[in-house]
């Protein structure tokens, strides 16, 4: 098996056992990236020091020094996460030249465990999108079929892992941005419970929804990364003090005693036959592994997208106010035509720096928060959000995890939905509620469509109950044995 076909756990083992050098591993993934990035556009920026850092790890290992559990293994980082000394754009022109002086807590923890940041992955601008078509740095393509979107907003991370340009990537998930691209690209993507992972240093889209998570080839790989990146960070008051379990060690495919709920609203009309077939198969696997299947209801599901877009755009309209061209980032050319006043200065920096989807969402949020509309939109959405969460809490009285499609269809074609924002928003119907309720969720590969496009299965659990969810994913993964499937473009 070639280096790039190994998964994260195998690479970590190989480094620890001195079977492979970090330099060789890093070089293999860099070469693959050099070969495929022109085709897929999965990365915005490569870490020029990756090889140098890999050699440092090798030296350290050779000298017998103690190294972290991820020592020498490259990981791709979504461009939403600040990386000290490496350009961080969030997919936006407004940050085209921004080089942070600090790293996100997630990046600090990964690097602290010895991982090498290989590059910064492409994404929808400020994570606002479900297709990675809104990036200022060009659209990203699905490795399984390059006419299709990789999903979004963490499309670059999903494409990079799927095309073996990195063994693991970090994504962020505000309304499905880890799970949906994982689903579209045939990999595992996990969004931890809101608060598991510090948001410090992650470009904020919607603060009460954003959560970073791993995107990899196996459930075990993702569980390992979650152990590294989770835990309380005093810099983020919304990070939880909850103890971090050893998920990767506790994985089991024996689901005896576990109750899996099927939310009926997630199997409504509109779910394609391909998706239905794959999810049904996953249910059968879980049953065979000992799980009990129960029907549950989440009656407010149909409002999830509306509540999500209200909450997310309101928070975003304020979170993105800091991009003004005063202290960093894009500034319009005022030499050519001077600013009339400060308002003009701001409006031009922001009007030119943000793309159209971001501007649309900023305006939606600005309007929904503005005087006279706050109660009907923002406040009302937050109230419905509580009821929606209660739907889940009630469901979890009857079951341990929920299983559903991650989206109604597999990946769609590039350009197919970009012209109609509302259609694009409705894509997110099965993923947004998880974020609104703060629950952990994941997508695990479940099979392929007739056209050979990957289809994932979504699993959700109660707050901080990631283990149960991971176990179900693990059982499906073991039974299907799809983790070595690679898109044709890889070879």
């Amino acid at each position: 098996m070639s280096i790039i076909e190994k998964n994260l756990t195998e690479l970590c083992d190989a480094v620890q056992k001195r079977e492979l050098k970090s330099e060789a591993i890093t070089k293999a993934f860099l070469d693959q990236s050099t070969r495929l990035n022109p085709k897929l556009n999965a990365y915005i920026t490569m870490n020029e020091k990756a090889l140098e850092q890999a050699r440092d790890v090798d030296k350290k290992i050779a000298s017998g020094a103690k190294v972290g559990r991820l020592a020498g293994v490259p990981i791709a980082i979504k461009d939403m996460l600040c990386t000290k000394g490496i350009k961080t754009t969030a997919g936006s022109k407004i940050l085209h030249n921004f080089i942070p002086q600090y790293s996100a807590a997630v990046v600090e923890k990964l690097e602290g465990a010895g991982a090498i940041t290989i590059g910064k992955t492409n994404q929808d601008e400020f994570a606002m999108g479900s297709s990675t078509e809104t990036s200022h740095y060009g659209i990203c393509r699905n490795p399984w079929s390059t006419d299709y979107v990789p999903g979004g907003s963490s499309g670059g991370s999903a494409a990079a892992v799927s095309a073996r340009m990195a063994p693991m990537a970090i994504g962020t998930d505000t309304g499905g941005s880890v799970r949906q691209p994982a689903n579209f690209c045939g990999i595992v993507g996990v969004k931890p419970t809101y608060g598991r992972v510090s948001r410090y240093g992650i470009v904020a889209y919607a603060s009460s929804l954003d959560q970073a998570g791993p995107m990899g080839h196996t459930v075990q790989d993702c569980a390992t990364i979650m152990e590294v990146i989770s835990g309380k960070d005093v810099r983020d008051t919304t990070s939880a003090q909850e103890a971090v379990p050893e998920w990767s060690k506790n994985l089991t495919d024996n689901l005896k005693g576990l109750k899996i709920g099927l939310p009926k609203e997630y199997f409504a009309e509109g779910v394609s036959d391909d998706v239905r077939k794959v999810v049904k198969n996953a249910i059968d696997i879980a049953k065979a592994a000992g799980a009990e299947i129960v029907d549950v209801s989440l009656p407010l599901t149909h409002l999830g997208v509306a509540v999500y877009y209200l909450v997310a755009t309101c928070e975003a309209s304020s979170n993105l106010a800091r991009y003004d061209g005063v202290r960093f980032g894009y500034r319009s050319d005022f030499e050519k035509s001077p600013a009339v006043d400060v308002d003009d200065f701001y409006s031009r920096n922001r009007g030119e720096g943000f793309g159209s989807e971001v501007k649309r969402r900023i305006m939606l949020g600005t309007y929904a928060l503005s005087s006279g509309y706050y109660d009907a939109y923002y406040k009302k959405a937050c109230q419905v959000r509580r009821l929606l969460r209660q739907n889940f809490l009630d469901a979890f009285k009857k079951c341990d995890v929920l299983l559903s499609p991650a989206s109604t269809t597999p990946a769609f074609k590039i350009g197919e939905r970009i012209e109609s924002p509302i259609e694009m928003y409705l894509n997110d119907i099965y993923t947004t509620s998880t974020n609104l309720a703060g629950l952990p969720g994941m997508s695990v590969p479940g099979g392929f469509s007739k056209d050979k496009l990957p289809i994932g299965v979504q699993i959700m659990a109660a707050h901080f109950q990631e283990q149960k969810m991971l176990n179900v994913g693990y059982a499906i993964e073991k039974s299907l044995n799809l983790t070595r499937e690679v898109p044709n473009v890889v070879r």
């Binding site: 990070s239 209200l310 400060v342 409006s347 159209s356 900023i362 009302k380 509302i422 703060g438 901080f464």
Partner: protein, 91 residues
Amino acid sequence: MIDVKKVAHLARLAISDDEEKTYKAQMSTIFKHFEEIASVDTKNVEPLITPTDMKLVFREDKREVVLTVEEAMKNAPEKSGNLFKVPPVVG
């Protein structure tokens, strides 16, 4: 009807007349969809902000040097000495 120009000004976004037209149409469609939530009875329901129950932890009042001045100014589009420079602000 949404006054897109006014909203764009409030958000400090320069938009063209064409953009204004497009946004106006799109935003009214989107808000029509959003208005579905009005049908839910939310009497006496506390708005939910942070979805996970967590205990607040304070930061100890301890002084730290986080950035040097050079680091703070490194990304500045325009500066004068170690101050950020912008067009004149009135008031």
